[in-house]
């Protein structure tokens, strides 16, 4: 029977862009990975009827003939998980771009059959189990140093359990070498190597999800103080072109306190990816003294690379993130940009002639978005470790209009919304996060952590700062109509203080050595100074001192520049500043 079945070869029937159809086949399963054509282009089954099987191809289809063979692989679209992922750059379906370059040169050729992980490299493996141990899914049986800063842990694939019947000695192994043999309940022996496969569209299971109560520290003032994000949280960064989405993502990737960064360049610019590559390898992580790339994975599916692989790249990224989470790491994944991914969905949906919903996007866009963002979280893993996946997704609204479907649906499923603002970007106020339009649902969730680790006053300050900014935005409505001159002095003070907050605090210079990352303690002290000046000035004004003479002291301008003038490692200088504020202002009174 079996030989008979093999004779029925599946061949290409129709071709339309990245969509290929096969007629009269019953051998494929939904979401199965297939090889298309003589060049064995990678594809995935996306639709089956009794007459027609529809396949999306992850590579250019130019030059394919009807009648070329289509072979199933029997398993869904999967990625290989094992040591060698870090410090690497992959395309959307986990093919290493460096090896592709060696194989086909500077331009990507089709049908590259390089394996995802380097199979020739030897890893120094330490075995952690002994014969007779009972292992269940997720349990760690071996580890090896993957990079100088990250230890890779080999885990039993979820779903598999059994008794260890053979353990190989510690030593050097290739990624595909068997190091443990496991006998399951039915008596079948499973050879465990350093790597495993996992289907990209299936979330890796966890023991339980935890509440998100620990912030992801980013060193960016506007985020850490006004719009914080939790480890295991989700954030969306919407913004029109030129508002600095990518710059903000880069800053977060460089400075946030996650153990591992996964940066997905999804349908974005090639030059940007080469910038990330060169910057990250030059950038030394202050905590470990090693290059950033030691804890980074890049997934680059630039806008001109095949659109179906762009759709897959987001899932590839999140699967890698979950894998490292299972080892007990805190992982942050930056997806730049989810709109390009949504457009890939739309493009393929159009080729399938599906009935479009809003703006031509398929009706399943919201469910796909929620499936993706729900894979974030702080979790207890199957093996008892604790880790998190934080998702930060950029959104590129068409026509800079936040009411378009991708932005709106993303807003429903993320808990931080960092809206980038055109007018701030035009004034080169970066990060151009608009503090009135943006919100963070973690703001109060994280209060307890901040109180315990940075001090109770930090939380108090940030409510005060927020209050001044809100008050200013209301006053600005009036100022726009009649000018600032007619306001009473106490309201002018609000505007002046808000200016210091905007220019001196919220605006942050990514190219300034001190200002690019600011520790929480300094953020707190900066807020303290601004609020101190505000409080003292308000007292003087209520005593009848005109605001012009307070402004004339130059204290406001001094505070605007304190972000540059006070180094990150000299918080004691703030006390001098406080003294100066007190002295100068008391001098005004004696006058």
């Amino acid at each position: 029977m079996e030989t008979n079945e093999k004779k029925i070869e599946n061949v290409i029937y129709g071709i339309n862009g990245p969509v290929v159809t096969v007629r009269n086949s019953r051998s494929f399963s939904m979401a199965e990975m297939v090889h298309v054509g003589k060049e064995k282009l990678v594809g995935e089954v996306i639709g089956i009827t009794d007459k027609l099987t529809t396949i999306q191809v992850y590579e250019e289809t130019t030059g394919l003939f009807p009648g070329e063979p289509v072979e199933g692989t029997g398993s869904p679209m999967s990625v290989t998980l094992g040591p060698g992922i870090l410090d690497n750059i992959f395309d959307g379906i986990e093919r290493p771009l460096k090896e592709i370059e060696e194989e086909s040169g500077a331009f990507i050729a089709r049908g590259s059959s390089v394996s995802s992980l380097n199979t020739k490299k030897l890893w120094e493996v330490t075995l952690l189990v002994k014969e007779g141990d009972f292992l269940k899914g997720g349990d760690i049986y071996a580890q090896c140093p993957e990079t100088p800063v990250i230890t890779h842990k080999c885990m039993v694939p979820p779903g598999l359990e059994g008794t260890v019947v053979k353990v190989y000695p510690n030593g050097s192994y290739h990624v595909n070498d068997t190091i443990v043999e496991l006998k399951d309940k039915k008596g079948k022996i499973h050879n465990l190597s350093l790597c495993q496969k996992w289907p990209i569209r299936t979330p890796r299971p966890v023991a339980q999800r935890l509440q998100t109560t620990v912030p992801l520290i980013t060193g960016q003032r506007v985020i850490d103080t006004l719009l914080p994000i939790a480890k295991g949280g989700t954030a969306a960064i919407p913004g029109g072109f030129g508002t600095g989405k990518t710059m903000t993502q880069h800053q977060l990737a460089k400075w946030c306190d996650a153990n591992i960064i996964i940066y997905v360049g999804c349908g974005e610019r090639g030059n940007e990816m080469s910038q990330v590559l060169s910057e990250f390898s030059e950038l030394i992580d202050p905590k470990s003294g090693r290059p950033m790339t030691d804890r980074t994975v890049l997934i680059a599916n630039t806008s001109n690379m095949p659109v179906a692989a762009r759709e897959a790249s987001i899932y590839t990224g999140i699967t890698l993130a979950e894998y490292y989470r299972d080892m007990g790491y805190h992982v942050a994944i930056m997806a730049d940009s989810t709109s390009r991914w949504a457009e890939a969905l739309r493009e393929i949906s159009g080729r399938l002639e599906e009935m479009p919903a809003e703006e031509g996007f398929p009706a399943y866009l919201p469910s796909r978005l929620s499936e993706f963002y729900e894979r974030a979280g702080m979790t207890d893993n199957l093996n008892g470790t604790n880790g998190s996946v934080t998702i930060i997704g950029a959104v590129s609204p068409q026509g800079s209009d936040f009411s378009e479907p991708v932005t709106q649906n993303t807003k429903r499923f993320t808990r931080c919304f960092w809206a980038l603002d055109k007018s701030l970007a035009y004034a080169r106020h970066y990060p151009a996060i608009n503090w009135t339009q943006s919100y963070s649902e973690y703001f109060t969730d994280l209060d307890a952590w901040y109180k315990e680790h940075v001090g109770e006053d930090f939380v108090r300050y940030r409510y005060s700062i927020n209050g001044i900014l809100q008050e200013e935005s209301q006053l600005m409505e009036i100022v726009k109509l009649i000018g600032a001159d007619v306001l009473p002095d106490d309201q002018k003070l609000v505007i002046e203080t808000a200016r210091v907050i905007r220019v001196g605090f919220l605006q942050q210079n990514a190219f300034h050595a001190e200002d690019t990352f600011v520790p929480l303690e300094k953020q707190k002290q900066m807020m303290r100074m601004i609020l101190l000046l505000h409080k003292q000035a308000r007292r003087l004004i209520s005593a009848g001192v005109p605001i012009s003479s307070i402004v004339a002291t130059g204290l406001f301008d001094k505070l605007v520049k304190m972000k540059y003038d006070i180094p990150n490692n000299k918080p004691e200088m703030f006390d001098e500043y406080a003294q100066e504020i007190e002295d100068t202002l008391s001098h005004i009174v004696t006058n």
Binding site: F241, N271, V479
Partner: protein, 478 residues
């Protein structure tokens, strides 16, 4: 095995459908011979078993169900390449139209190209000096960048493109390794002629390759024009190691051609009727700019697009802005008030400039100065909108200074002659001099050391100039 397929099954817009075709491959070229002896070219765009849909570049006018013989060429659309293409003029699908005969090809290349491996790219860092203050100082063009001009009908984008092409100098290069690829998609005959004449006058015509699909040429051919141009550019840059500047005008016409093609294929339309894959399609063109490891050449793109109704949120400028590394936006009000080039500073941007300017490239104060100019000009806009409500007289003294700065900035800095070629030093110094119209404490984007080094000397220069001017004036009067 060459088979002629006689007749067609269906004709729809620019598409014809053949039945019972053996061995057609996707995107293969076809040749269609009509009974009257004329030959048209086409491309396979869809295959369903033996039913093949072909796009005819020259249009289907005159084709009936039985007056054609169609032959499959067995390869995708290719362009003949050799160093001889420099100085030649081609039509939109790459056939010579200057009467100098066919190109004897060194090799042929698929016009669709292949994506550049992101790993193989060199991050572009060297700036191109265009001699235009607003561009050099505020949105510096970098070698290997794609920087479009967002314009509208009737504005001076062509002049600006010509001025850039004429004045562009690469800092560390003698200039003899520089060439221009010009692609006209649906451009008016006058526009193409204007470019040709301008290249001729500046003596660079021998270094220009032109691909012309004029507005009365077949629309479907327009889809091929930028692909041919970029294939030629890649050949010149990555095989002959030249620095290539690609000027493509007008991308909006290109996108419209794509829309027409898509709708005749019966595809589901996205925004404003443009196909859902417009982003990917535009990206496949724009991403062909860059520099790659192991080659000294570069492809720099300046696509020009006219925004319908000057609307920057229209799908074409919108998607372009998301792909390209910045944009130069032209402004109709400034154009009307006679400012050339009418560069609207605030929405314009060069994403790559931050790493291509400063010490070792232009001058150490460049980044600070441009930040400050942007910030100050944004303030000018606020002051102007306030002044339009309460009148300029009622403004605070600081706002009045901003108004004055705004006027000077537009008249002296942005505005410059069509043949005026300013060095980067001149532009930067001029920027500082204009900033002296503002009090020092308003300059909050710059640290004190830089202010001491540049703001104060500029102040002295301005002061001495005013003295000279006033004494000169007195002498005249005297």
């Amino acid at each position: 095995m060459l088979i002629d397929y006689i007749g067609v099954k269906e004709i729809n817009g620019s598409l014809i459908v053949l039945d019972d075709v053996e061995d057609a491959s996707f995107e293969e070229m076809v040749e269609i011979r009509l009974d009257d002896g004329s030959i048209r070219q086409g491309r396979v765009v869809q295959i369903d078993g033996k039913r093949v849909v072909i796009q005819v570049f020259e249009g289907t006018r005159g084709i009936s169900l039985n007056n054609t013989r169609t032959r499959l060429k067995g390869h995708p659309m290719e362009l003949a390449l050799s160093p001889e293409i420099l100085g030649r003029v081609f039509d939109g699908s790459g056939r010579p139209i200057d009467g100098l005969g066919d190109i004897y090809p060194v090799r042929r290349a698929d016009i669709n190209g292949s994506p550049i491996n992101p790993v193989s790219r060199i991050y572009p860092r060297n700036y191109i000096n265009t001699g235009i203050s607003s561009i050099d100082t505020l949105m510096t063009l970098i070698r290997g960048q794609k920087l479009p001009i967002f314009s509208g009908s009737g504005m001076k984008h062509n002049e600006l493109a010509v001025q850039i092409a004429r004045q562009a100098r690469i800092s560390d290069d003698g200039g003899d390794n520089f060439c221009i690829v010009f692609a006209a998609m649906g451009a008016k005959n006058d526009v193409a002629e204007y470019f040709r004449r301008s290249f001729d006058e500046s003596g660079v015509l021998q270094r220009v390759v032109m691909f012309l699909n004029l507005s009365n040429d077949p629309i479907i051919e327009r889809i091929l024009t930028p692909r041919c141009a970029l294939t030629a550019a890649e050949y010149l840059a990555f095989e002959l190691n030249m620095h290539v500047l690609v000027i493509m005008t007008d991308m909006t016409s290109y996108a419209e051609a794509l829309r027409e093609f898509s709708s005749s294929k019966g595809e589901i339309p996205g925004r404003k009727g443009y196909p859902g894959y417009l982003y990917s399609d535009l990206a496949a063109l724009y991403e062909r700019a860059g520099m790659i490891e192991g080659h000294t050449g570069s492809v720099t793109q300046i696509p020009i697009l006219t925004m319908p109704n000057d609307d920057v949120t229209h799908p074409v400028p919108d998607l372009t802005g998301y792909i390209t590394e910045g944009q130069i936006v032209l402004d109709r009000t400034m154009d009307n008030s006679g400012i050339y080039p009418p560069v609207s500073v605030l929405p314009s941007l060069s994403r790559l400039m931050k790493d291509g300017i400063g010490k070792g490239f232009t001058r150490e104060d460049h980044a600070d100065l441009s930040n400050q100019l942007f910030a100050a000009y944004a303030q000018v806009m606020d002051a102007r909108s306030l002044a339009s409500v309460i009148g300029e007289e009622e403004l605070s003294p600081v706002d009045k200074q901003y108004m004055e700065f705004g006027r000077l900035f537009e008249q002296k800095f942005i505005s410059q002659g069509f043949t005026e070629n300013r060095t980067i030093q001149e532009s930067l110094d001029l920027g500082w001099e204009l900033l002296t119209a503002l009090p020092r404490e308003q300059l909050d984007r710059v640290d004190d050391a830089t202010l001491d080094a540049y703001y104060e000397p500029a102040k002295k220069r301005v002061a001495s100039k005013t003295v000279q001017n006033s004494t000169a004036g007195e002498e005249k009067e005297g």
